[in-house]
């Protein structure tokens, strides 16, 4: 009996992520969802600019590499040109919540029938640890060496809370991947975000609270503790919007 194998929707290319980085777990969960729904042959993924830029080599489905932040616009084009295909984006917080904020908000408010996997690691990973729109108050980064000063640099953007205030989006949930229980929950949410698209329900975004041990300057296990102690209290996990569930309750 096979109890554990590599998802088919991942290629054999070795991942380039740092040891202990949670990008790898999230890739796996996305690939498992694609496998379980049996949609790999009609899925097109959109990779971001960020540490996941080379996701196009890792997912076995057709892939597009978008410009920084523009993945939801590219995904919109793909979905509208090919409504039968399954389109997802995989984006970091610098990509999605800074340069790509306009694309994100407008895709959400249009309720584009796409799936967005949003990896929030509170930092610009790829470029060496600059402050992101999601960096926590007081967080030390390359560009906030004395800690993020909210009087100067403003407050972190809570993407799930913000987007769920819109009438457009179908489903928004924040999950984490810092322990087994959370990974299982994240899997459920990601699967649902893809299933929503298969069922034509509309815009589904899963915010995954992630870690960046390298740029946080921590060991992988310390980084996971930091997720639990600092990130999750600021970014509470849970379902922020689920239009179909709300309808059932009416």
């Amino acid at each position: 009996m096979v109890v554990f194998e590599k998802p088919k929707a991942l290629t054999d290319a070795p991942l380039h992520y740092c040891p202990g980085c949670t990008h790898g777990i999230i890739h796996r969960l996305v690939a498992e969802a694609i496998d379980e729904l049996g949609v790999e042959g009609k899925t097109v993924g959109v990779a971001p600019v960020g540490c996941a830029v080379m996701a196009y080599d890792y997912f076995a489905c057709d892939m597009v590499e978008a410009a920084h932040g523009r993945a939801p616009a590219v995904a919109t084009g793909l979905k509208r040109a090919m409504p039968e295909n399954i389109i997802f984006t995989y984006q970091g917080d610098g990509d999605l919540a800074s340069i790509g904020m306009a694309e994100t908000v407008h895709a959400a408010t249009r309720n584009e029938n796409i799936t967005i996997i949003f990896v929030n690691n509170a930092i610009y990973g790829m470029t060496g640890g600059q402050m992101a729109p999601t960096s926590l108050p007081g967080q030390v980064t390359q560009t906030s060496p004395y800690g993020r000063d909210t009087a100067v640099q403003g407050f972190p953007i809570k993407v799930s809370e913000m987007l769920s205030a819109l009438d457009g989006p179908e489903y928004i949930e924040r999950v984490a991947v810092n322990n087994v229980k959370n990974v299982k929950n994240a899997k459920k949410a990601i699967l649902k975000a893809f299933k929503n698209q298969v069922e034509g329900k509309g815009f589904s975004l899963i915010e995954v609270v992630s870690s960046c041990p390298t740029n946080w300057g921590m060991t992988p296990s310390k980084a996971l503790e930091w997720v639990e102690e600092k990130m999750i209290p600021y970014y509470p996990l849970g379902v922020y919007k689920d239009k179909s569930a709300e309808k059932k309750e009416d």
Partner: protein, 279 residues
């Protein structure tokens, strides 16, 4: 296909560079207005440099077509799609505010839809082939250099085969007016008026701005006494005229900018001045 007017086209330059880098076909229509900045909303040709020299970042070209009538707006749109698909190079239809606003009779040609093979397209693998990747990222410089070399091989073929221009009264011309789009129509009137005054003048109207009709200009340089570049800008195409003719003959500029259009009288005055000087 996408379209806008100058400031919107600046905004699209990021995407255009990525399209060029990923070797995707696309048509971009720029109905130019005066700039820089928010500029104005009247006709202009001041995006010539941006359109013909790249526009966004990186080593690339667009195929640039310049219509001079509503009919050509239609015909060149069809041509632009075909060229773009043939070479996998984004193409720009570079019009101006007058082309965008004027009314003229136009015959829309019957065209049978063409199914072109796109084995590179991302429509899903159907689990029948390896995955396709639309990408402009090459972290290894050797590979990026190779893709740029390969793209420029295609550009070379485009330069050799696709340059388009119209000649008007050039057979015995001693002065050559060069103009595209609305400026060419104004210039044609001026050329006709100058001919009535006995001045041997003709017009070369580039229809493709990239590739620029270099050969036609080079040939003209051997027989005319001088050129006049008529433009709705501070003089941009004039540089390509000088390059194509290797500055063999003087090139004058007759221009208005900021949304102003030179009148046939202004162009005629320019022709008369050069005719006198060239004697």
């Amino acid at each position: 296909m996408t379209s806008s007017s100058s400031p919107g086209i600046s905004l699209k330059q990021e995407g255009i560079s990525y399209i060029a880098g990923a070797d995707l076909p696309a048509l971009i229509v720029n109905v130019q207005r005066g700039g820089p900045g928010l500029g104005g909303i009247q006709p202009s040709q001041s995006d010539y440099f941006q359109a013909t020299k790249g526009g966004g970042h990186g080593d690339y070209h667009l195929i640039v077509l310049a219509p001079a009538s509503v009919q050509e707006m239609a015909d060149l749109t069809i041509k632009a799609f075909d060229l773009s698909e043939k070479y996998r190079v984004p193409t720009m239809l570079l019009a101006d505010g007058t082309m965008g606003q004027m009314m003229e009779p136009v015959e829309l040609p019957e065209i049978a839809p063409k199914e072109s093979e796109k084995p590179w397209a991302v429509r899903g693998t159907k689990m029948e082939r390896e995955h396709n990747i639309i990408n402009s990222l090459y972290l290894k410089p050797e590979i990026l250099e190779k893709t740029n070399f390969e793209r420029f091989e295609r550009y070379k073929a485009i330069e050799e085969n696709e340059a388009m221009y119209e000649e008007y009264m050039m057979d015995d011309a001693e002065i050559c007016v060069v103009a595209f789009g609305i400026a060419a129509r104004v210039s044609k009137n001026a050329v006709t008026a100058a001919r009535k005054k006995g001045i041997k003048v003709g017009l070369i109207r580039p229809i493709t701005l990239w590739p620029f009709p270099k050969e036609a200009l080079k040939k003209a340089a051997d027989k005319v006494k001088g050129f006049i570049s008529v433009e709705l800008s501070m003089g941009q195409m004039i540089e390509d005229i000088k390059l194509s003719t290797e500055c063999k003959k003087p090139v004058e500029l007759c221009n208005r900018t900021g949304g102003m259009i030179p009148t046939p009288e202004e162009v005629l005055a320019s022709i008369e001045k050069l005719a006198k000087e060239a004697k």
